[in-house]
Symmetry: C2
Subunit: 296 residues, 2 copies
Amino acid sequence: MRAIETVGFIGTGIMGAPMAGHLIEAGYTLRVHNRTRAKAQPLLDAGAAWCDTPAEAARGADAVFSIVGYPRDVEEVILGADGALSAAEKGAILCDMTTSRPALAERIWREARARGVGALDAPVSGGDTGARKATLAIMVGGDEADFQRLRPLLETMGRTVRRIGPAGAGQHAKMVNQILIAGTMMGMAEAFTYGRAAGLDLRTVLDVVGTGAAGSSALANLGPRVLAGDFEPGFIMDHFIKDMQIALQDAGARQLDLPALRLAADLYRRAAESDLGRKGTQALCKSVADHNRVPL
Amino acid sequence: MRAIETVGFIGTGIMGAPMAGHLIEAGYTLRVHNRTRAKAQPLLDAGAAWCDTPAEAARGADAVFSIVGYPRDVEEVILGADGALSAAEKGAILCDMTTSRPALAERIWREARARGVGALDAPVSGGDTGARKATLAIMVGGDEADFQRLRPLLETMGRTVRRIGPAGAGQHAKMVNQILIAGTMMGMAEAFTYGRAAGLDLRTVLDVVGTGAAGSSALANLGPRVLAGDFEPGFIMDHFIKDMQIALQDAGARQLDLPALRLAADLYRRAAESDLGRKGTQALCKSVADHNRVPL
């Protein structure tokens, strides 16, 4: 089995650019493709080779990473006519880090395998800050041997890198992550609305409740931003809505009844419809307060 | 203003008994009343005086604490014919630590004030463990002067003791706490159900997601219990349902629309109807999994 030297990287946006940067810093030879070339320029300046298509980025690469927007983008950049798989070498490994549909991850794994190519799904948690600081949590699905080969590369991007199970399991774990956050964010939005309606100084309240049984990472990190009126994105609401839709679709296929997740998706869609879709997930607090005519 | 020496304590259950114990250890003279005398016996053995009624516990006391079950119990032990207020001395302070209705706390404050008696609402967070270890978070509503007089006593019971605002504000802050927890618990229950339905090893998943943006005190403390099949109460589901009903009633009076809180109350009621009401709040995970015919 050859060592990994040349790496294709597809999608150099707010997440992908710093992640690819860590691979360059670690000494890998990068071939990058992005829809908008300008966003890849800092990587090209750092020595990466530009590729006009995902297929070109995959040509001669030992591993090909992708982190793009929606499942349809994943399908196109990996399985499309100019997709990475069409040009991937036998023995190469595709690693999609987009949060995407578990069933698509399984399909990619099957189609890749049929051509002698490996495939991992490896969505991340930790946002753009985690991507920059290489502190991401990375949840991996796929074959253990492929995981072990790519592990050193994943560890340049993340702090917690774990294989969860076979193809699709990484995406499923990410859905677990997003369902947890969906519940916590709804609780936060309604708690803030209730507290402000009752005339409370929420800063004092959060001081008391934040360290106890009601404490959460979301409350600690996003609560102060909400109270400061800061709704700029760490994680964009529209992307979170996409993730919840994937989870609901998958849950629906299993006939699971998950009313809290459904409600969270509804409340977030209402927020997005009132022009908050490009704001951060914490803007749900503003949407729920606005809906109740409560000043935050 | 006289120093606080003699203290009435009404309600010596799973929370009240250790809390009253801390006051005895701190050197206060205790007069205790409880519906079931046997549960007060350890306190009597430690030197507390038994009182047949709440009024008797309040007689000659400088401060009277209460921590009982439901708002109707609060009303009875404080405002009833044999209630603490009927016998409270001028200048004494009543301090109800039950999680109860904010409007009732305001009424107690008004009626007490009319008799020259002070009143605080001071619900707690932290459960029986927090009560035993004196690490409770205590959220106080009422007059600042009354708060300052009782503060040394509250600090024998809790680690974080904060005055939130006027009468009722302590209860409102506790509702904020419970609304936060309601959202987090729904997310946890549905995330576990989804993850198990997808065939994931939840221990591995929680290792990855628990330290990131999806992390919470509930997930860290209750998640492992759920995975171990341990649904015994830290905090009893029936009591949590009571708290959510209080929050919904108060929100309703303000015409607030809080669908996530409503859904949480519905899901918890369904769990209680399937005989989980005396289990801990984490048993919602079992209820949601059972409802979806997913083995946890």
